[in-house]
């Protein structure tokens, strides 16, 4: 036990073995710190994704350090990199295979809007195919930006109505 400042009431917090909350908040707290991600990596943003995931920035601090390469075991679909029209049905299929509850992060400007691509091959933003929860712009986004997006996703998970 640390020393208690003089004059403060001496309260032994260890005596309280319960806390009050709502079921919604408790489930949200559990879900936001146990994000299993599916990295759908198609392009150069993947390098920045790796930088974010590795020890220097360490995405595991946010409980999202465990990429699953099966959509059936994942909670968050990280779409990292340009999506072409040829790839779009694959992305849709991966999304459909994920179990509820599920979220989607558009990582990089190509997935947000198509980026600087305006051609016959590129999808103009993955939100034309699947719903997106968080957009992380950048070409590619800095790891700090990715962590910011991840924290915004956690905030969204915490505050939403938890379907059980």
């Amino acid at each position: 036990m640390g020393k208690v400042a003089e004059g403060a009431p001496a309260v032994d917090v260890g005596r309280f073995d319960f806390m009050t909350t709502t079921l919604n908040d408790a489930i949200g707290w559990a879900r936001k710190f146990s994000i299993f991600q599916y990295p759908f990596v198609t392009a150069c943003c993947g390098m920045e994704y790796m930088a974010t995931a590795c020890s220097h920035y360490d995405v595991d601090r946010f409980g999202a350090g465990f990429p699953r390469f099966s959509p059936r075991q994942s909670d968050v679909l990280f779409v990292v990199g340009t999506i072409s029209h040829k790839m779009a049905p694959v992305l849709k299929r991966v999304y459909d295979q994920m179990c509820e509850p599920k979220w989607v992060v558009a990582f990089g400007v190509c997935t947000c809007t198509g980026g600087f691509y305006d051609n016959y091959a590129t999808v103009m933003g993955i939100d034309t195919i699947i719903p997106v929860d968080v957009y992380i712009p950048g070409c590619p986004p800095r790891p700090e930006n990715v962590l910011d997006g991840l924290m915004k996703l956690q905030e969204k998970i915490q505050k939403q109505k938890q379907e059980v």
């Binding site: 779009a88 049905p89 849709k92 305006d118 051609n119 016959y120 999808v123 103009m124 034309t128």
Partner: protein, 164 residues
């Protein structure tokens, strides 16, 4: 390497009935060949001990739509390299718009397989005698050929999702 005559001139002198022009372009020695004799010249350039062009580095087509000075719309360009002699040669075949086709050189250089598929996919030049001439980059349901000058660059043909 002796200075004269140039490689392009030497090829022209050896196959005068196939080669219509020989020039020294900034890219390297270049010969223009009649479409009917393209495969015969390819086989000869590979086997001839004077040239030994045993490697096909690249194969592509150029679309000269709206070029006044060009009589033919397409040019198929073969980028040849001789490992033995350490020198390059560009072979150009002029292809008319009405019948965009040339003989496949897969029997001569197996490396031509995917190059010719790409050229067919992007430019719509067919290669007679190719073992498996189908699209390699775009999907089968894609209509038209994306790199032709009269194909609008951002004309999208999505498999799923909204058009454009």
């Amino acid at each position: 390497m002796d200075a004269a005559p140039s490689l392009a001139q030497a090829v022209r002198a050896k196959y005068p009935n196939l080669v219509t022009a020989a020039e020294e372009l900034p890219a390297g020695p270049t010969v223009t060949v009649k479409r009917e004799g393209a495969r015969a010249l390819a086989a000869s350039l590979k086997s001839d001990p004077e040239f030994r062009f045993n490697m096909l580095m690249d194969l592509f087509a150029v679309d000269y739509l709206h070029w006044e000075e060009k009589e033919f719309r397409y040019e198929v360009v073969y980028n040849l390299f001789s490992l033995e002699k350490n020198r390059r040669l560009f072979v150009k075949v002029l292809v008319p718009e009405t019948d965009p086709s040339v003989d496949s050189v897969v029997p001569v250089w197996p490396a031509a397989d995917w190059f010719e598929r790409e050229t067919w996919d992007m430019m719509g030049v067919t290669f007679r005698g190719h073992p498996n001439l189908k699209r390699i980059l775009m999907y089968e349901s894609f209509e038209g050929h994306a790199l032709r000058k009269d194909y609008r660059y951002n004309q999208r043909q999505p498999l799923i999702g909204p058009m454009n």
